[in-house]
């Protein structure tokens, strides 16, 4: 896992939740392209947090080899659906699995940056304590954070220890009566489980915005 700060000439800014496409071109002309969520608040320039996937074509380069001063081909910002601008008035529920936390972190950072008082909660599922991204910063954002560690928990762990399900959501999500605005990001399996659980709790499908991450990097 690594966060890269990019300086893009002419960059017009982004919205919290958007992503960019990064394209690499090998010396023989072979091209590989992947999408990466923007981790930074709109006021803080363009930063990507990239998870290294061992069999990936792009992420091993970005995590292991990219150095300060290297040039990348970037397309974006992309997305007008999975975005939160901070002007919305509904309570916000962020539900993230693994590296799906990256785009919703941009929203939480944006909320802190603009001094928003909109209630925001994050339900975040990781495999283990070591896999938790932004571990220290999560406690400083002024939002409620509920974590679950699905494979391995450290001694004395007081959070949840299972995959996100209806019961876990019932204990942590805003009541449906508050008509919250929801952002769910993670693998397809994670997103479907979270969205289904929220619908069972009486959430309206129109409140829920989802973004599925692929298994290629």
């Amino acid at each position: 896992m690594k966060t890269l700060e990019l300086d893009v000439p002419g960059w017009a800014g982004h919205r919290a939740g958007q992503h960019v496409d990064v394209r690499l071109t090998a010396e023989d002309g072979y091209q590989a392209q992947r999408s990466y969520s923007i981790a930074s608040a709109p006021s803080d320039g363009l930063a990507l947090t990239v998870e290294r996937l061992d069999d990936g074509e792009v992420s091993p380069y970005l995590v292991d080899e990219a150095r300060e001063g290297d040039q990348l081909e970037v397309r974006g910002p992309i997305g007008g659906y999975f975005v939160w601008d901070g002007t919305e008035t509904e309570p916000v529920l962020l539900v993230a699995g693994g590296s799906g936390v990256v785009p919703v972190m941009a929203m939480a950072r944006h909320r802190a940056r603009i001094g928003s008082t909109t209630p925001m909660r994050l339900i975040y599922s990781s495999r283990s304590w070591d896999d938790v991204i932004y571990r220290d910063e999560l406690e400083t954002l002024g939002i409620e954070v509920f974590q679950t560690l699905t494979r391995e928990q450290p001694p004395g762990w007081s959070g949840y220890s299972r995959r996100i399900d209806r019961e876990l959501l019932a204990e942590t999500a805003w009541p449906a009566s508050q008509s919250p605005r929801v952002y769910v990001c993670g693998s397809t399996r994670f997103v479907d489980a979270a969205a289904d659980g929220l619908l069972e709790l009486g959430y309206d499908a129109g409140w829920i915005r989802t973004e599925r991450f692929g298994a290629t990097g």
Partner: protein, 87 residues
């Protein structure tokens, strides 16, 4: 083995390609399925990527859009989409 359901992405994944093809952001664009008439933002549609890209209705699973790129060209089949409502 990875099941087909786990290869499913959504319309967010083709936002960059659509931006390149159409010159505008399309993930929030309402799209109407020619099969069942459902109207959903592109980000909510099911997307499968392989040799090409297949976009399916998230309600009836009918193919709405197919995109194939190769030899410097793009083939775009919108016959399963009754409309795209550009803002």
């Amino acid at each position: 083995m990875t099941g087909i359901a786990e290869l499913k992405l959504d319309g967010n994944a083709i936002g960059g390609l659509m931006l390149e093809l159409f010159g505008v952001e399309l993930t929030a664009t309402p799209c109407v399925c020619a099969g069942c008439g459902a109207r959903e933002e592109m980000a909510r549609l099911d997307v499968y990527t392989g040799a090409g890209i297949v976009v399916r209705c998230c309600h009836c699973e009918a193919v709405m859009i197919r995109i194939v790129q190769g030899r410097g060209r793009t083939w775009l089949d919108l016959s399963g989409a009754a409309s795209l409502e550009l803002g």
